[in-house]
């Protein structure tokens, strides 16, 4: 199961990275065109706004899979593995609740915006895209968190959460 989640989350994260690169290149081209022929790419800001929503949505599952969502370790550091794992399990399940609520509500938001036919100001991108892009990432994150949480509650998962390497500012 872990292997399956890992593969999907990895593809999500890599796709997000590619999206971030595309955003960077688009912005650079726009800056160059503005400087050279004073004609930036139409709607570059709107594309970046959509792009960042897509990126973050694609990044979320990997972050949860590697347990890079930061926790406070300070008060429970001395606990035995079993109660610690149980607390982590509850934490993961609560995270799943948060992501499911956000996914469901954002999907409802997509519906509403689609019906209203809202578009962005300059190049008229349909606004519901931004909403729709968030739902898959949030939903997959919730699934991963439920799976992790159930394992942690049964004491099967003794990984260390919030691995300090790479994450955190």
């Amino acid at each position: 199961m872990h292997a399956v989640f890992r593969r999907i989350a990895l593809w999500f994260a890599l796709a997000g990275g590619a999206a971030a690169c595309a955003m960077a290149v688009l912005t650079v081209v726009s800056v160059v065109m503005r400087a050279a022929v004073s004609k930036p790419i139409q709607g570059d800001v709107e594309l970046v706004q959509m792009g960042i929503a897509l990126c973050i949505s694609l990044y979320l599952p990997w972050c949860q899979l590697t347990r890079a969502n930061i926790i406070v370790d300070f008060f429970t550091d001395k606990l035995a593995p079993r109660p610690k794992g149980a607390l982590d399990g509850i934490g993961s399940l609560l995270l799943a609740v948060m992501c499911l609520v956000l996914a469901a509500r954002t999907a409802a938001g997509a519906q509403a915006v689609l019906e209203a036919g809202e578009t962005t100001m300059i190049i008229g991108l349909p606004m519901w895209w931004a909403y729709a892009m968030l739902a898959p990432g949030l939903a997959l994150t919730a699934l991963i968190a439920i799976w992790q949480g159930l394992r942690q509650l049964r004491g099967l998962d003794d990984g260390t959460p919030a691995a300090a390497g790479g994450a955190a500012p």
Partner: protein
């Protein structure tokens, strides 16, 4: 129940969840959502949540976070940190403690392309630690210098915590970056002075290495010119108003990618690692944003921020003492909490109060920038101060033969320089604002 009481309950619920290992984002989101529901009913809550995630994730200015992180990752995976350290070591390695100074200098230079202190610590430790160990540097000095040097990753722009502060307080990211320049240079000098004093007091801490001949020094320096060019273009462009911070970050990411490719050290595996590293940190930051948004919406309904501002405004205490007290609380909070969450949680409550104080007769914008840099200093301190200090963990996970306690003993002299710098910036706002005034009229 009165709104004030409910506000306190929400806050207490959050702290309890945090202490019990719930991810910080969730510990803010769930009590916030329950509090919001209790005050304005389920329809209002459902309606808010419909758009709240999209509203947060489509903020143009926030795109600088993944872009600057990507830039730092490319620099790390492309081996730029190694050239930086080698250049530093070629110039100052022959001084007693010189390799530690080179580590500080290379961390500062790396901080100019990286906005994360953990990433800076990790990458500089990987290249500098083996060298310092081979030259018989004392473990305590080595790891402490690396952990504290890592904070230059956020003290010198770009800086993720500073971007978060700018978004929370609706300030100009470029101006905040400019304001961080002089304090960042102060920090670099301060750490070098600390190393030099330590080595003078206890010469056994570090052995000087052989001096490198001048031609080789220039050669080592020549290898780092891409970083200098990228820094000047990105920040020159942002400060000079040629492009927005997002555009600067995009130019930096593309430029660093090209520089890393040109060194022939960045392959497909390295690119993958860059993407994954960016994913982890970006997702973590935005998750906390989503949680903090919910919490702050609820707290705003309880009018807690207004009350706190009102209360602080009527305190019969000199404003500067209030700021000093806030800084002290931040340093203490930083001991048990992650610094980013600390900012997201407290800035919306504290900032209006700070803005209502009369400080040196500063204009609102100047006050906001100056306060932001002070907050950034406390974030830096929190990254290294016992008993938690994330940077110390990171350095010790690489330098495994030095016990963590040794590092914690070693960071105190560096923390003393942090404190001294903070006091300077507290009493002389012009140190922070002077550089801003130079660029932004």
């Amino acid at each position: 129940m009165s709104p004030g009481m409910l506000g306190i309950l929400i806050f207490a619920g959050m702290l309890a969840l945090m202490a019990l290992r719930t991810p910080i984002a969730v510990a803010m989101f769930i009590p916030g959502a329950i509090g919001y529901w209790a005050m304005s009913g389920d329809l209002a809550l459902l309606n808010l949540l419909k758009g709240s995630a999209v509203a947060r994730l489509t903020v143009y200015d926030l795109s600088v976070i993944p872009l600057f992180l990507l830039m730092g990752q490319f620099a790390t995976q492309g081996g730029l940190s190694r050239s930086l350290f080698q250049a530093g070591a070629a110039f100052v390695g022959h001084i007693r403690g010189g390799l530690a100074m080179a580590a500080i200098l290379s961390a500062a230079a790396f901080g100019a392309v990286c906005g994360s202190s953990v990433a800076t610590s990790a990458t500089i430790t990987q290249v500098a630690y083996p060298e310092m160990k081979a030259h018989g540097y004392h473990g305590r000095l080595t790891t402490a210098a690396l952990a504290c040097g890592g904070t230059l990753g956020i003290l010198i722009p770009p800086s993720v915590p500073l971007v978060v502060y700018a978004i929370l307080t609706e300030q100009n990211i470029g101006k905040l970056f400019a304001a961080a320049m002089v304090p960042g240079i102060f920090a670099t000098i301060g750490y070098i002075v600390v190393i030099s004093i330590l080595c003078r007091l206890k010469p056994e801490l570090a052995q000087p290495s052989a001096a490198v001949p001048w031609p080789q020094r220039w050669q080592a320096l020549a290898a780092v010119w891409p970083i200098a060019v990228i820094f000047v273009v990105v920040f020159g462009g942002i400060y000079g108003g040629i492009f927005s911070p997002t555009e600067g970050a995009a130019v930096g990411a593309v430029g660093t990618f090209v520089a890393a490719l040109a060194r022939r050290e960045l392959g497909w595996a390295g690119i993958q690692r860059s993407f994954i590293g960016t994913a982890e940190t970006s997702a973590m930051v935005f998750m906390i944003f989503l949680g903090a948004d919910m919490m702050n919406s609820a707290l705003a309904l309880t009018q807690m921020p207004t009350r706190v501002a009102d209360w602080v405004g009527h305190l019969q205490v000199a404003p500067l003492w209030i700021i000093a007290a806030i800084m002290a609380v931040y340093i203490l909070l930083g001991c048990v909490m992650d610094e980013l969450s600390m900012m997201l949680l407290t800035i919306p409550v504290i900032f209006p109060a700070v803005m209502s104080l009369d400080l040196f007769g500063l204009q609102p914008e100047g006050k906001a920038i100056w306060f932001g840099i002070l907050v950034l200093m406390t974030v830096g301190i929190g990254m290294t101060m016992p008993p938690v200090g994330l940077n110390v963990y990171v350095v010790n996970s690489i330098a495994r033969d030095v016990p963590m306690n040794e590092t914690y003993k070693g960071v105190w002299p560096f923390l003393a320089s942090d404190l001294l710098r903070m006091l300077l910036l507290l009493f002389f706002p012009s140190l922070t604002l002077g550089f801003v005034a130079l660029f932004f009229k």
